[in-house]
């Protein structure tokens, strides 16, 4: 086993894994039907929080979820750049502040959300939609306030 392989295995962080974030991102965009410029997902950073909410099975410690999510934003940024290069998603800078994204429907062969293996993730996202139906168009700060403040987490702007 090479040194780099050992390093890879030791430093594997599943919730920050590109592929993990990737399928969460795709599932989220599919759930909100963000397929065009008009129906874009406003501010991709919210997906970092959604991913960590889904990743954590027992949701006892919302503080932990919040801080983990902060670390997830960086790999997520890299990921959306990669996916854009790959043509899976498109992105648009909105007023130089936030980055809105949407899914390029034709690029993928399957609709992920219809697959049996992602049923758990889909149900989690649906729960979120139930709690906050306008998740896709909310600003990051208001999203955080609505989701995390209710669980006693002190939220600040990232």
């Amino acid at each position: 086993m090479s040194k780099i392989q050992a390093k890879k295995r030791l430093l594997y962080v599943q919730n920050n894994d590109y592929n993990f974030l990737c399928y969460i991102l795709i599932l989220t965009l599919e759930s909100f039907s963000c397929y065009s410029n008009k129906k874009s997902f406003k501010d991709f950073r919210k997906i970092a929080f959604i991913a960590n909410i889904i990743f954590t099975k027992s949701k006892d410690d919302w503080n932990q979820i919040y801080y983990r999510s902060q670390h997830t934003i960086k790999p997520l940024t890299t990921l959306i750049l990669m996916l854009e290069k790959n043509g899976v998603i498109s992105l648009e800078q909105h007023k130089g502040k936030t980055v809105n994204i949407w899914l390029n429907k034709d690029r993928l062969n399957k609709r992920f959300s219809e697959l049996e293996m992602f049923s758990h993730e889909v149900s989690e996202i649906n729960k979120l939609i139930e709690q906050e139906p306008r998740t896709n168009s909310l600003k990051l700060s208001s999203f955080l306030n609505r989701i995390f403040s209710d669980h006693g987490v002190e939220v600040w702007e990232v």
């Binding site: 430093l11 990737c22 399928y23 795709i26 099975k57 993928l108 062969n109």
Partner: protein
């Protein structure tokens, strides 16, 4: 033989003043018309002798409803006023001085002066005691039920002073404080007997003692009856002291015996020792077993908690493995991570190097499918290990449960054994015996208490009965003694009454009353012609005769204590004809003429021309209101006239 004479009557005050002329032995006449002050002189005399004169009292609470309010205004309005009497008791001169509204009399016998209170207080000698002592009359006590009554001069004065206020058929001047005692028959009789000197000391003493015995007897019998009523439950008429005492001692003996047995039982504990040891051992075993059971229970609880946590971890791992499968699927599907080029810049370089160049501070590798598979394998292995751990914990728990069950069974067994051991032990039997003994002792104690109560109550009743009988016996003896002394006294008295009667009858016969027979009855009241009705005015004569009989009898007989003084205040009331009165008065003069006039004194106040011609020489004082010759003269007018 005692004699009392009034020599001079004076009144001195700031406003008014009166000085009577010298009063002599024998008859003294004071003449005046209505309201000129004849009666005032007699009031002064009574007041000076310690009498309770109503009109000289300033009493705001006087009974004005039944009696007209009578106040002697001139006297009451005067200040620093006093009555002064010059008297002669058994030929010794005294000056008596009493201030109005005061209850003290100053006695001056020429050498020294003493003072005596009128009202008896704290057993001090009163004026009455003093004057009775001088008159040689013994003071004795009469007990009338709850009340005791001491004979005093004021009472005797009721037969010395003939006043206007008393109804004549009552004979005795009414007492100043009128009540059922002061006007009772026994007291009037006592006054009569005292004045006649027929008081039997022995009789009176017997009488008092009898009364006292009566009281005592009544007290004891009432005590006895109330005691019997209160203890009706225990009271037995046929109570036998001996038998009851025997019974009580029997019970106490039995009780003592039982107590001894109980003591013996409580000291003896050697035989039950081994039994107790067995019980103690079993108890200890049960205790240690229980501790063990508790320990095991704690262990099981801990294992269960651990199992829970491990299972949670395992579930998380499963979840991660599942995600990993999804990751691998996504990797295959998207195919964005081609090993040949960096997914960001699509250059030939491998992503890791690109990242490590400094775009990102943290490591964020790009994983190939191979890498994922290795991680997947590793995680699966972890799950296997955890499965082993779960199996271990489960076996631990089942072992603990088994052990627990066996210990519980053992404890059950031990408890049964313990029960058996306690039931079989002699110690247990001892307790039963002990309780039985205690119960017996308690019931015996109760019985003894009842019996003793019964005994004491009946004994008390028995003693009281005895005492009552003794008292009854004593009383009978005393009654006999009393009746004997009464008989003697009456016999002695009969002679006295006979003599008194003969004088009385003699006087009545000669009087203008025209009666044939006159006697004194058992209560010493006059009985004229067997009690037939006479005109009201006759009462005046009968009463006058009654009073004079005393005087005459006392002059005939030296042993009579009557002080040989009569004060007759205006007898001409009740419509008596003046000639009848004049005849009566001259009759008295005639009757007394046989005696030396220095042995007695009679003071009569009467109206103008209502006296016999022969009495003119006795006139000492003449009042006439019309001429301004009133008894009380203002000081300044007195000075002017003199």
């Amino acid at each position: 033989m005692g004699s009392l004479k009034i020599c001079k009557v004076s009144y001195f005050g700031e406003l008014y003043q009166y000085e009577s002329p010298e009063l002599n032995d024998g008859f003294n006449l004071i003449v005046g018309d209505n309201g000129s002050g004849k009666t005032t002189i007699t009031l002064f005399i009574e007041y000076g002798l310690g009498g309770n004169v109503e009109v000289f009292k300033e009493n705001k609470n006087k009974k004005t409803k039944t009696e007209a309010k009578r106040e002697y205004l001139q006297v009451l309005q005067d200040k620093n006023n006093y009555v002064e009497l010059e008297v002669e008791i058994n030929n010794i001169k005294y000056v008596l001085k009493r201030f109005i509204k005061d209850n003290e009399i100053f006695i001056h016998d020429g050498n020294c002066s003493i003072s005596r209170k009128i009202i008896r207080r704290n057993g001090n000698e009163t004026f009455s005691d003093w004057i009775l002592d001088k008159l040689d009359i013994e003071v004795f006590e009469l007990s009338l039920g709850r009340h005791a009554w001491l004979i005093d001069f004021e009472s005797l004065y009721r037969l010395i002073n003939y006043d206007q206020y008393t109804e004549n058929n009552r004979m005795y001047k009414s007492p100043n404080s009128y009540n059922f005692i002061t006007d009772s028959l026994i007291i009037r009789k006592s006054i009569f007997e005292t004045l006649l000197g027929r008081v039997s000391e022995e009789y009176n003493k017997c009488y008092s003692a009898c009364r006292e015995k009566d009281l005592q007897y009544n007290k004891i019998s009432s005590e006895l009856s109330s005691l019997i009523k209160l203890n009706s439950l225990h009271y037995n008429e046929n109570f036998d002291i001996e038998l009851s005492t025997q019974e009580n001692t029997k019970i106490s003996d039995k009780l003592e015996d039982l107590k001894e047995r109980r003591k013996f039982l409580s000291n003896d504990d050697g035989s039950s020792y081994s039994d107790r040891q067995v019980v103690d051992d079993i108890e200890n075993e049960v205790l240690t077993n229980s501790i063990k059971i508790n320990d095991i229970l704690i262990r099981i609880k801990n294992s269960e908690y651990e199992l829970e946590r491990v299972c949670e971890y395992k579930n998380n791992l499963f979840f991660e493995v599942e995600q990993l499968q999804k990751i691998m699927f996504t990797h295959e599907e998207i195919k964005m991570f081609d090993q040949s080029a960096c997914p960001l810049c699509k250059s030939e370089q491998i992503g890791i190097e690109h990242e490590s160049e400094g775009n990102y501070n943290s490591y964020n590798f790009i994983y190939s499918i191979e890498d994922y598979r290795k991680i997947y394998k590793q995680k699966s292995k972890k799950i296997d290990t955890i499965d082993d751990a779960v199996a271990d914990i489960n076996s631990d728990i089942s072992n603990g449960t088994f052990e627990l069950q066996s210990l519980k069974n053992k404890n059950l067994l031990l408890n049964n054994r313990l029960k058996q051991a306690i039931n079989n032990s002699t110690y247990h039997k001892d307790i039963m015996l002990f309780e039985d003994l205690n119960n017996q002792i308690n019931s015996l104690n109760d019985e003894l208490y009842d019996k003793e109560k019964y005994h004491s109550v009946n004994l008390e009743i028995h003693n009281l009965k005895k005492e009552k009988e003794k008292e009854k016996h004593d009383k009978e003896i005393m009654d006999k003694k009393l009746s004997k002394s009464e008989r003697n006294f009456n016999k002695d008295n009969e002679n006295t009454i006979e003599e008194f009667n003969s004088i009385f009858t003699n006087l009545i016969e000669k009087s203008p009353l025209g009666a044939s027979t006159a006697t004194i009855d058992d209560d010493y009241m006059p009985l004229i012609d067997g009690g037939i009705y006479k005109e009201k005015s006759s009462g005046v004569m009968i009463r006058l005769v009654y009073y004079f009989t005393f005087l005459i009898y006392s002059l005939q007989n030296n042993s009579v204590k009557f002080p040989r003084l009569l004060i007759i205040d205006t007898p001409e009331d009740a419509g008596i004809d003046s000639d009848k009165l004049v005849k009566t008065l001259s009759l008295f003069e005639k009757a007394l003429s046989s005696f030396n006039h220095n042995q007695y004194q009679v003071i009569i106040t009467t109206g103008e021309n209502r006296y016999p011609e022969s009495h003119k020489k006795y006139i000492r004082e003449k009042f006439c209101k019309k001429n301004g010759n009133y008894i009380l003269r203002k000081k300044d007018t007195l000075l002017l006239s003199s």
